[in-house]
């Protein structure tokens, strides 16, 4: 049975990343934007794992790529925790999570 090629994996991850980016641009709910960011991170992880599989070192997958993914997941978890805490604090202060209303950084 034919197996999927590296190109296909990369293509899929590229599309996933684009979807995430589209979400960040289109959506206004800051929590959803946050989810889309996670999606983009996941797409990057997929690329890393695909390359780690493709790049064999002495007959085994290159685990350095997977290490990276491991760390990405860890950092992302921490990021989500802090980010959500910030969102909660923001909501407490502003009573909104809509980015249209959050433009105090305007120059």
């Amino acid at each position: 049975m034919p197996t999927a090629s590296l190109t296909e994996y990369l293509f899929i991850s590229g599309i996933l990343f684009s979807i995430g980016l589209a979400g960040v641009i289109i959506r206004r709910n800051i929590i959803v934007i946050f989810m889309c960011l996670e999606l983009m991170l996941a797409a990057a992880s997929l690329t890393l794992v695909a390359f780690s599989r493709a790049n064999e070192v002495k007959g085994l997958p290159d685990y350095d790529g997977q290490m990276f993914v491991f760390f990405v997941i860890t950092v992302a978890a921490a990021e989500v925790a802090v980010g959500l805490a910030i969102i909660v604090a923001l909501y407490r202060a502003r009573q909104t999570v809509n980015t249209k209303d959050l433009t105090s950084l305007q120059g």
């Binding site: 980016l21 641009i25 206004r28 980015t99 959050l102 305007q106 120059g107």
Partner: protein
């Protein structure tokens, strides 16, 4: 006795007076200054006739290049030292009386010592840089002494004017020194001799002469000297009549003999002679219509300096130096005499408010008349012999200059006797003059001594500052030159008698030409305009350009450009909307990928 004491003593005196003998010990200061000057006179007399050059110390040394502070002793410098220290001593003594009650007496004597120091430096300088150093220092002491009564606006302005006029001259002087250094490879007088026809020498000579124009107040930089009369009168006698203003002539003589009298290019020499001649004529004309006794003498000094410069320009510096020597004594006498008059008349300087002083102040009056006779070159007086030399030189070279010199001689007689008739003869025209009393002995003695010197200086041949065994021609022989000289005297005297004997006011006051003379040919007004346009206006325009073009338009423009660009980005790009940022971010990524991958 080391000759360097001549420099050290007055310097020490100046420092001691300025730092340790202020107000409360002013009398000690005056005494210190006078004694030091007496000591320098003694030293100068002992040094007479010695000929050598010594190096005191090495001032600047870089690699092979060096500038030394050294002393050059020869007849020119030792003779000049006698003039400087001799008149200096008498002026010091006179000042003891004249400045007795001045509140800044210590400062006055300190500055006089400073002047003695600097003037000695000029006279004994062994190289041009050293001479320039002391040249500037006499400028400073002159500045300080003219501005002695600095609270008077006129004195402060006159001091400034003197300094600045000298500076303008020094501009050329310094360039001249640099060129001479380039041409001859040395600034030391003993190593400077040149061969005729050296390129740039004519320019260099004229540039060096610029220094003399400034210091000896030649046209067109003469304007400071009459204003310098704002200083105390003894200062005018010492600095602005006898010694410092003559330094220009001394310097030119030293310079000419160092490079060699034969190599001086004709064109520059004649330029110098003409400047001297024109100065003497213009100054004599201006003197005829002055009312201030000191101003008359100041213009007369200008005129006589013109004579000396003319002699230098006629390549006969010895004649100029001889006239410098005789002139120093009788002009100092005249100035101190006028000082005595001013002192007696309670600081009244207008001659039309004096009159009849000869009877009330016989010593002053008669010595003043002796000075006048010398100045007007009555046959047998010192002025006659020295002027004769110059007239001969002029007669040999240029009849036109000779003519000018004779006219000036007539004018000199005219304005000096005008002064005598109005101030010393006739009736007292003012109650100050009415109650004038003879000055005290301390001021009278210097007058008498100076009168003696004025009469007998030509006969003391060893004192005359000159070069190459110069012997003045003493004697009266009837020839064209002598005839013209005597004729000029008679003409001038007659004019003065006709116009001014027993007059209460100036009969020529209304005349339009005389008005031009009275207003000094409008030089001051012209310079004021010139300064207004070429300095103040240009300064204002340049300042405007600097402020608004360079600072405002260029620098400020760039600032505003940066600020404006920043503002555009701030207002248009920094929307605060997350979507916007994400969009731009994405677009940026695409651009970066495009640039890196596809190009």
């Amino acid at each position: 006795m080391h000759p360097s004491l001549l420099l050290i003593l007055p310097l020490v005196s100046a420092v001691v007076i300025h730092f340790f003998l202020q107000q409360k010990r002013a009398s000690i200061a005056a005494l210190v200054g006078t004694l030091v000057t007496a000591a320098t006179l003694g030293l100068s007399l002992m040094l007479l006739g010695s000929e050598n050059s010594t190096t005191l110390f090495n001032w600047i040394q870089v690699g092979d290049f060096k500038i030394d502070i050294g002393l050059k002793l020869d007849q020119l410098s030792t003779g000049m030292m006698i003039v400087v220290s001799g008149i200096g001593l008498l002026v010091h003594v006179f000042s003891l009386g004249y400045m007795k009650d001045d509140e800044a007496k210590a400062r006055y004597f300190g500055n006089l010592s400073l002047f003695m120091f600097s003037m000695t430096g000029i006279v004994l300088a062994s190289n041009f840089i050293m001479m320039f150093i002391f040249w500037e220092l006499v400028g400073l002491s002159s500045y300080l002494l003219i501005g002695h009564w600095y609270q008077k606006d006129s004195a402060a302005d006159a001091a400034k004017k003197a300094f600045l006029s000298n500076r303008v001259g020094d501009f050329g002087f310094l360039i001249g020194i640099l060129m001479i250094w380039g041409i001859s490879g040395s600034v030391v007088f003993d190593e400077m001799s040149l061969t005729a026809g050296t390129p740039f020498l004519a320019a260099a000579v004229l540039l060096v002469f610029c220094g003399a124009i400034g210091k000896s107040a030649q046209l067109p930089l003469h304007v400071w000297l009459p204003d310098a009369m704002e200083g105390p009168t003894p200062v005018s006698a010492l600095i602005h009549a006898a010694t410092m203003v003559a330094a220009g002539v001394y310097m030119m003589a030293r310079f000419f003999y160092s490079v060699g009298i034969d190599v001086i290019p004709e064109c520059s020499a004649m330029t110098i002679a003409w400047i001297g001649g024109i100065t003497s004529l213009f100054a004599a004309l201006m003197a005829t219509q002055q009312d201030d006794i000191k101003k008359i003498l100041a213009y007369s000094t200008l005129s006589q300096l013109g004579y000396m410069v003319m002699a230098v320009g006629l390549v006969d510096p010895n004649a100029g130096m001889f006239h410098l020597y005789t002139h120093a004594w009788f002009k100092a006498l005249l100035f101190l005499g006028s000082g005595a008059v001013i002192y007696a008349c309670h600081h009244e300087q207008n001659i039309w408010k004096m009159g009849g002083l000869l009877k009330k102040m016989p010593v002053t009056g008669w010595t003043f008349i002796i000075g006048t006779l010398c100045l007007t070159a009555v046959p047998g007086t010192s002025g006659f012999f020295s002027k004769e030399g110059i007239l001969h030189a002029a007669h040999d070279k240029s009849h036109f200059l000779f003519g000018i010199a004779v006219v000036v001689a007539a004018l000199t007689t005219f304005y000096m006797f005008r002064l005598i008739f109005i101030a010393f003869l006739g009736k007292a025209k003012n109650k100050h003059a009415e109650h004038a009393k003879e000055v005290p002995l301390i001021m009278g003695v210097p007058l008498i001594l100076l009168a003696v010197m004025a009469l007998f200086s030509p006969f003391l041949g060893s004192l005359i500052p000159a070069v190459d065994g110069f012997h003045p021609h003493i004697g009266i022989e009837m020839n064209l030159v002598t005839g013209c000289s005597i004729g000029a005297f008679i003409l001038g005297l007659a004019g003065a008698i006709v116009l001014y004997k027993e007059k209460e006011s100036d009969p020529l006051a209304g005349n339009a030409v005389m008005k031009v003379f009275r207003n000094k040919f409008y030089f001051d007004e012209f310079y004021a305009k010139l300064i207004k346009v070429f300095q103040d206006l240009v300064a204002a325009v340049v300042h405007f350009l600097d402020e608004f073009v360079i600072n405002g338009l260029v620098v400020g423009g760039l600032t505003r450009l940066a600020q404006g660009t920043g503002n555009i980005f701030r207002a248009k790009m920094q929307t605060g909307s997350l979507q916007n940022y994400a969009f731009l971010f994405g677009a940026g990524i695409i651009l970066v990928i495009y640039l890196t991958v596809f190009l």
